[in-house]
Symmetry: D2
Subunit: 336 residues, 4 copies
């Protein structure tokens, strides 16, 4: 039987996920929609989920006996309440980033899920589902010896004026924060931020680029260049240096040409395209686990740790050059 | 409503397609199965299509009013009869290669479908659905000027004793034969086969490698190296040379490593992995068209042309060095 | 003691070689210059060889007891006479391509040198001295098994109106003709030329591109794309396919950039830059052998075989599609 | 007239440089040799400089009127005295690294040369003469906008027990210290060293790998991974990130193969091969300048700055994590 899914938040990402569930993936269908904007909800229904029921509130959707599992794709500030409600209802819940707007909020989700005693929450860290990172993890786990260092870069062609310095952590680095924990099966113990010369392509409220240096419990040193006005493209680089060799994240598939006195391969400029395939894989994983009444993939613990780490990185931005310790609470048994 | 699909031929490929339809793709379900081996049919049902009905014969399956569309994945020699039956029943039909075992057989399918007056048949040339070829086609159509030449290679690590010289055409080159017509939007006018020195890794009934030279109606010259005991991997290469530049088929995604005094990226050795993703895309395309009662993608005309071309290439093998003309009949309006 | 070199032909290449000898290489100096244009000779002397003596004729230069060895960089039609004179004088002689303007002329040089009983002539096939081809030869000789096929390309961005169809052989393919014999340690037995659609960037007296198919005595099949209006760059490609693997000629060193939504590496457009380093190596080799009164590197036999092969390829152009046999005379013992 | 060169220090590097001067380069000859070991001096003379005169001491060689210019390739501890003597004699002097064993010693050379009022000293930082770095510098100066960051790595397959932690600076990083100043036309203002987990391939007196973070006066941030037991090869990486794009140091030329299920290019393992061509270019530059009685290339000021920077980096090793300022004295006018 198809998993019956309710979608809370019918904006762009909610609609796109609903489309996936109804028209790309297998084993689920969207049966309910809720949005603070009735227009949004109606539009989602009209475009990709004709059979879905409209709910006045997320809470009503969650409690409906027509709904087996919940997608939280609403405004970030509302994530915590809906995820807590889904946990209370015992229903699997996929929550887009962030799990909560504060580490304390994420902690409340962790505590509720731990109290429930089973995994019910998957956080939308889609990179773990990217084919390139998955291949990389396999190689890191098997072929290059113990990891010692990671050299990484997260580059956007440009960002709008609204993107200010701390967003380099909360909106950009957050993906590396999560994916490296998973890639290395490790946790962070400290962070430091250093600022290179500011590019003239940036604006007054954004120090760009930045270099974030992370240290893990196992002693791996990670350097991440975050450069969100790099002009040339959306480019995600990751090189893991192990005791016996190095491994690189693959480039996205593109056509190599010889043209105009140049051996050239296009680089993406639209971040939305970079991990688009991983959304399919991530949601199929959610559907598969939800069919058994549980959740897998990035957990609320992972969301909580990401929040704690991000807070430390923002402090490291504010005290540029200083090494900021990252201390994690004890990990509940559910997340071992 | 989900398209109700009947599968004729429950061997490895039939079972795999049924799994796709029921557990990966969207918009269809397998409702019927038929196989000359009742065990095969039962096994498919047990493993991937619990709800499916077993039919004693393909013909019964095709005529069942529970079946909207048909997958022909049986033994090659039976393809023609089932496809003709599906056309007669007015049901969309996906047929694995070959469409028929002879060009005349393929012609009969073309004639039947043309008489039916609408596309009902999709032939399983999956490369047209490969992400790499699709990107390549986009670039060829837009960025390198008029195509003048194609340099290609189709290499397998090794083949068993049963693989004899003509199979280099019927089982190997057949994919290039189809995909280059599509890539170039062109047809062949001649072929020539030349034999390099035979590799000592081959056996007495197989001249390996071979070079096949094709000429198209628009004057494009194509050289394809077919080398099925190349030892090192399963490797598909394609370079299109246009008036203004060159474009290369991308390599499959793999992790580049620095290790053991070598900058190295793994090359696939199992051909089954190379185009595995394209099977999903091809079948989803079939499902989408079948939902409207028709078919798209590689047509029976394409299957027929492939058969004619392959016959000419085998003649070119037998008369090595000679240029063998390829003459195509008039293309029915349905396939314009 | 420095080898005392006389230069016959003080045009661009003669002057450049004289500069090499006097200002880059070790063990030789230019002591004499001759040119049909006294201005050219004076200019060479003034710019790069202040101490050199001017000779009225090449013959006087050759016979001077101040001259140990001779560089023939004059107009092609005069090469044969000067090389024969140098052989008669028993002096080592470096001769730019072609050794003679006809195969018969080259034969006369071979006969004279064979009669002299020792190597005195080096022909200016500089690719044998290119670092990339040298690395490739080492790998072909050791690491990929018996060679079976070569896929090659020789591309220029454009050529002037004066460049007509046979020049694709005599001026362009001639380099591949020589270097593949050396690379494979093999000789040609047949050639065939096929013409793809003509690029609109060509002109009325030039069929461009062309594909030349060569077969060797050991059964290696070589395909060379000659495309002299390819627009995008000067690009020399060579891939050798062996029984156990493939090897590629390296690209010239260039800086890979990420810029303008493209991963890009410049491709050369000026052919004069492509093998410029190999001129140094080739001439140093000449100097070193000349110091012992002999010659090494590409021999007059190689020049003769290149001429015979080129003649067959031109015939293959004229009889496009036909396979033209290449028959070589018996190789004199001197060249074994 | 050939520059007459005296070589002080007839060990491996001295002999190799003498061979270059006499048998590869143009415009100079080795006329004198001195070594504390008479055997070494005699061996150099016998093998590569038969006409050279043997001198009992470096000072005698320097003062000989047969000697126009001096090569100091003796034991590091003696460099300063010979360079000072050459300056005193007004003779151009090429000095292998280090210019002196202390920053104070290097300062004395700077002061002496500044007092002499003209460039007489070239320090053997050969990377500035490497074709790859030269191409990179051209691109950095012209094509990627203002440099903001450099990501670099210096990796050796392994080092002996005698190689202890500070040697990662003095023997390894020293090359990056010099070449990045030249590449960026910039100076350092601070350094920091962080230690990743130690590889099990290291030994007890060596923390390996290390990451050195340098900051320049213009605000460029440089991270250099020094990993001298990386196992896989000798690998020098350098990526410059500018406001408008990135540029990478080219890999050394090598043959790409497809073999053994791998797309593979050999990586060097012997550091002596990596920059071997640059020694030729560096010494030819020395000869050319010496012919005019002066010196160019890396100056004694560069040697002095390298020493100061290296001292700060060693302090940064000892105070791992701390940011150590680098303060340079005023640059004498001679070095502007």
């Amino acid at each position: 039987m198809a998993v019956r899914i309710g979608v809370i938040g019918a904006g762009a990402i909610g609609k796109d996920h609903a489309r996936r569930i109804n028209h790309v993936l297998s084993g689920a269908k969207v049966v309910g929609v809720s949005d603070v904007s009735a227009d949004n909800a109606a539009s989602l229904k009209a475009e990709v989920a004709a059979d879905a029921q409209l709910f006045a509130t997320g809470e009503e959707l969650i409690s409906s006996d027509q709904v087996d599992a919940v997608l939280v794709t609403s405004w970030g500030a509302t994530h915590e309440q809906y995820v807590l409600a889904a946990i209370a209802a015992g229903k699997p819940c996929f929550c887009e980033k962030p799990l909560a707007t504060t580490a304390d909020g994420a902690r409340r989700v962790v505590d509720a899920e731990a109290a429930a005693g089973r995994r019910l929450v998957q956080v939308g860290f889609m990179r773990r589902y990217d084919a390139g990172y998955r291949l990389l993890k396999r190689v890191v786990d098997s072929s290059i010896g113990v990891p010692l260092m990671v050299h990484a870069a997260h580059r956007n062609p440009s960002v709008p004026e609204a993107y200010v310095t701390p967003m380099a952590i909360h909106d950009t680095l957050i993906h590396e924060i999560d994916v490296f924990r998973w890639l290395l099966n490790d946790d962070y113990v400290s962070t430091q931020v250093v600022y290179p010369r500011v590019t003239t392509k940036s604006h007054s409220k954004l120090r760009d680029p930045q270099i974030i240096l992370l240290e893990t419990a196992k002693g791996v040193r990670i350097d991440v260049e975050v450069f969100v006005n790099c002009q040339y493209g959306y480019d995600i680089q990751c090189q893991v240096v192990g005791e016996e060799g190095l491994a690189n994240l693959p480039e996205p598939m593109a056509i190599q040409m010889r043209k105009d006195a140049s051996l050239q391969t296009p680089i993406m400029t639209d971040w939305k395209q970079r991990f688009i395939d991983s959304y399919d894989v991530e949601l199929q994983d959610f559907i598969n686990a939800a069919a058994s009444g549980t959740a897998s993939g990035p957990s609320s613990w992972d969301g909580y740790v990401a929040a704690i780490t991000a807070d430390a990185c923002v402090m490291a931005q504010e005290q540029s050059g200083s090494i900021i310790p990252i201390e994690l609470p004890v990990r509940p048994a559910l997340y071992h």
